[in-house]
Amino acid sequence: MQLLFFFLFLPHLLPADDPIKPIPKTIAYNTKKAELGRLLFMDPRLSSDKSVACVSCHSFDHGGADPRPVSIGAHGKTGTVNAPTVYNSYFNFRQFWNGRAKDLKEQAKGPLHNPVEMDMVTEEIERFLRSDDDYRKAFRAIYRRAPTHDDALDAIAEFEKALITPNCRFDRFLRKEIDLTDLEHEGYRLFKTLGCATCHNGINVGGNSYQKMGLIFPYPWKETFPDRYDLTRTPADKNVYKVPTLRNIALTAPYFHDGSAPTLELALQKMAYHNLGFDLSADEIEALIAFLTSLTGETPPILQEER
């Protein structure tokens, strides 16, 4: 009971501390499932024209995100959204820009079936997996049955769980392993005082609430935007998105749901304008970029092993 109360009041005992928490250095996951998940993640045969894999839009060379403003799916179809990073997505409170999936497994279903993404149906996926000897063996070994759609999603989610980028400079600072540069310190101070941290906080520096883009000066809205309004049809939810993580933000250009900001500087200016109503000075931008770059972590261990 004592222990219980201790945990219950732990948050209360840590007031006004750093609003950002480091991600763990390692995470426990099922290796076999994750390895199978990696195969599936990399396999373009899971798309209707065998051209698109998960990794096509969540590139490991671009911080787990898509370098193109909007993603291109099977049969060359163009999407409407810039793919967010798959790295550390396990720490998001919901998945997708508007948080319509409650977890990674539910999320993985989306792109597989989306006509402008991988364009598959359940039966096709299963038929393919069962026709392939390697997959059949691998699924049998792990799930003790023939490959199923659900088990495939489970494996992919397990792999994605392993995609964490630990030991970024800022995490190491938080763990008091290193000190930040003055510029980075200045950037962190600005990050807090300019109000960025009110939305970008927690373990994933975002990904833990829905917020509106364009609080002061409205952001131009399009019907195709994947916002909360798309789900709720409440006018107030227009341009309301799940706050994206800022981890590895230096690697995941272009920025925003529409990929409309090709550089960090432009992204910062846009955010300052729409949500603060003011421009940032060059010094402020330099400091903020220094801080944001300190959020770039190591390549996920599961991907390092390959090399």
Binding site: L8, D18, T198, C199, N201, N208, K212, F278
Partner: protein, 704 residues
């Protein structure tokens, strides 16, 4: 055996069942307590967790920097607890329907609250964004605007007012400040219109934007916060906890009732066991009764209800010094034939009753029916005197009364043989036989002299002697003179049988006569003696008397032999007197009569020997045309001092005289007797006083 196995199994099963029930109930109760405790605890923790969530939300609204993860984590914790509770089998059971429905409602309410929390987080971030940025803007404004310019001064002053008011409104959560802020916004808008500098205008523009944002979302933010912080969800939880307490109390009562039921079942199973034990006991008792009955019938004589020979044998085995009195009903065969077997049975029953009645309790005797009309009384021997006392008592009872059996008066007489020697039954039977063969004695107590086995071997020896003696002419007549008491001279001789043994010893009839009779060989003896007597008689003028038994006469062969001899020695047959020994009852007077007629035809005369010793039938005897009466020696022997005997002899003599019969006195062993018989008028006398039996005749001796 199979039944026993089943019963043991049933008892074991019932016992195990009972223990099982009790253990199950104990475990069930314990589990229920634990489950109830666990869930009750969970509800209380849930309540606390929600209070913590409210606190965190409050923190989120106040702290400028806040990690939203803490809110989400807390929501996750609560959501998981609600899930776990909803999935709990106990709460899903019908007994907790009220709790469950309350829980479901609370869970839905929480999901709604979660949405509010998400909205709050959105609004909170926007609001904080502004409340954090407004002072920043103000600081910037102090740098841009000229503190000495009248309008610029008013603007910076207004900015200070705005910051202060928003600070108050936000921290006091007081919507009444909104009107003031709106006013400030109007003023700011007016002042802005006069500003031309690009930088100043943009700053004011942003400021107005932030103010608009604040004005726009603060009421909603305030509403959300109030909704999250109000007590409705907590009340709902408390309601659920209340329901749970009611229902768990009811459930425990229910379990207790079930426990009582189990106890009842347990008791019932014990009752069943008891019933089985009782039944088996009853069966055992019944079996034992039947067995006893069977055993009793095995050792019981059904007719008299006395124990039988088997029982006697069993009882005797366990005794130290057993004594046995054998009681036999005289002439029972006669009763059976005369009155019928039914009456015979009644007589046996009556005898059994009487024996039970009269055998003294102090004897601690057991009474048995040992055979047809044989009763046995078995007891521990103490003294011969006591045995004799008991025997006399029994005899007295039987002989002093007449028995009325089914309206018929019957005189029962009994014979008794008793023994306390080894070979108890055998010796008692010998004693009984001895009684039977005696005419006067009514009881005999065994001693070794009665041992028939000795007698039997003697008999066998005797029979062998007789057989040899007959074939080797070793049957010798010894002659005893019979004196005429008037002339005092030897009138005749009685030929007495003797056997000369191989070693030359001379045996008197006492040693062989009875055996010969029993073996039906006395006729041969008689014939042999007659033959030898004739051999002597033919060379003399003397008269000889020869003994012949009624049995000899009734035997056709012997009869013929005798008649043949008479025929052969026809010349001297007239000097032969046949003495018929009245040792046994004469039944066939006709045959006897005819024989006597036959011998008389040869001129023989006939005497009755031992007259007065048996049950002489006077009339029948007279019809036989007897010539001589030989008065029984037992009457003569004590004649000199027995007045009674004298009277009898006198009567006999008078009777003989009047019937024209001669009389002979035997056993005249003294002069006194001699004188007496002379005095009484007896015709002839014989005895040791007058002459002992001798192989030679007296006159021959005298001649020598």
């Amino acid at each position: 055996m199979r039944w026993l196995g089943l019963k043991v199994l049933a008892v074991l099963f019932a016992a195990l069942f009972g223990i099982g029930l009790v253990l199950y109930q104990q475990n069930f109760l314990k589990q229920s307590f634990q489950n109830t405790e666990k869930i009750g605890n969970s509800f209380r923790v849930l309540h606390t967790e929600f209070v913590v969530l409210q606190r965190i939300v409050l923190q989120a609204s106040h702290f400028p920097y806040f990690d939203n993860d803490t809110v989400l984590d807390q929501i996750g914790t609560i959501r998981q607890r609600l899930d776990t509770l909803t999935k709990d089998p106990l709460l899903q059971s019908p007994a907790f329907a009220q709790t469950y429905s309350g829980l479901e409602r609370a869970r839905n309410r929480f999901e709604e609250l979660t949405k509010t929390v998400y909205e709050f987080l959105t609004l909170n971030a926007s609001l904080k964004n502004s409340t954090v940025y407004l002072p920043t803007l103000a600081l910037k404004a102090y740098e841009i605007f000229d503190a000495h310019g009248r309008r610029d001064h008013r603007i910076t002053l207004l900015l200070s007012k705005i910051n202060a008011t928003i600070f108050l409104a936000k921290n006091a959560l007081d919507e009444s400040f909104l009107k003031e802020i709106e006013g400030y916004r109007e003023q700011l808008q007016k002042l802005k219109n006069g500003v031309v500098e690009e930088e100043k205008m943009r700053l004011l523009q942003a400021l107005i934007g932030h103010l608009d944002l604040f004005l726009n979302i603060f009421p909603k933010f305030h509403g959300d916060l109030e909704e999250i912080l109000d007590t409705s969800f907590r009340n709902e939880l408390e309601d659920v906890i209340g329901r749970f307490q009611v229902e768990s109390k009811r459930e425990l009562r229910h379990i207790n009732t079930v426990g009582d039921l189990f106890l009842l079942l347990y008791l019932l199973s014990i009752l069943i066991v008891l019933y089985f034990i009782f039944r088996s006991e009853k069966e055992n008792i019944e079996l034992k009764r039947v067995r006893d009955q069977l055993q009793k019938s095995l050792v019981t004589d059904h007719l008299t209800g006395l124990e039988n020979r088997e029982a006697y044998l069993m009882r005797k085995k366990g005794m130290a010094h057993p004594a046995l009195i054998l009681v036999n009903i005289d002439r029972f065969k006669h009763i059976n034939e005369f009155y019928g077997p039914r009456m015979g049975d009644r007589v046996l029953q009556r005898c059994a009753e009487i024996l039970k009645e009269i055998v003294p309790m102090s004897l601690q005797a057991h009474i048995y029916r040992l055979g047809g009309d044989d009763f046995g009384i078995l007891y521990e021997f103490r003294s011969r005197e006591r045995t004799e006392r008991v025997v006399r008592e029994i005899l007295k009872h039987f002989h002093e009364r007449t028995f009325d059996i089914d309206g018929i008066d019957i005189d029962l007489s009994i014979s008794i043989g008793a023994s306390y020697a080894p070979r108890l039954f055998e010796t008692a039977d010998m004693a009984l036989k001895s009684t039977k063969s005696s005419k006067r004695r009514r009881y005999t107590i065994y001693d070794d002299s009665l041992d028939m086995s000795e007698k039997i071997s003697k008999n066998i020896r005797a029979l062998k002697q007789i057989k040899r003696a007959i074939s080797e002419r070793d049957i010798l007549p010894y002659f005893q003179p019979i004196i005429d008491l008037k002339s005092k001279t030897v009138a005749k001789y009685e030929a007495l049988a003797r056997i000369r043994t191989k070693s030359g010893e001379i045996l008197e009839p006492a040693h062989f006569l009875e055996a010969a009779r029993e073996a039906k060989r006395s006729g041969e003896l008689t014939a042999a003696i007659l033959q030898r007597t004739f051999e002597v008689a033919k060379d003399s003028e003397l008269i000889f008397s020869v003994n012949i038994s009624a049995g000899d006469i009734l035997n056709i062969l012997d009869r013929q032999n005798i008649l043949d001899l008479l025929k052969r020695y026809r010349d001297c047959a007239t000097r032969i007197v046949f003495e018929i020994v009245e040792s046994e009852e004469i039944e066939d007077y006709e045959t006897l009569g005819r024989f006597l007629d036959g011998v008389r035809a040869y001129g023989c005369r006939v005497a009755i020997d031992d007259f007065g010793s048996g049950y002489s039938n006077f009339e029948k005897l007279l019809q036989l045309q007897i010539d001589i009466l030989k008065i029984d020696g037992s009457l003569i022997r004590n004649l000199d001092h027995d007045a009674h005997a004298e009277l009898v002899v006198r009567t006999m003599v008078e009777f003989a005289a009047s019937a024209g019969l001669e009389t002979v006195a035997e056993y005249v062993h003294s002069e006194a007797i001699y004188r007496k018989v002379t005095q009484l008028g007896v015709d002839y006398a014989q005895g040791f006083f007058l002459g002992r039996p001798s192989p030679k005749l007296q006159h021959e001796k005298e001649r020598e």
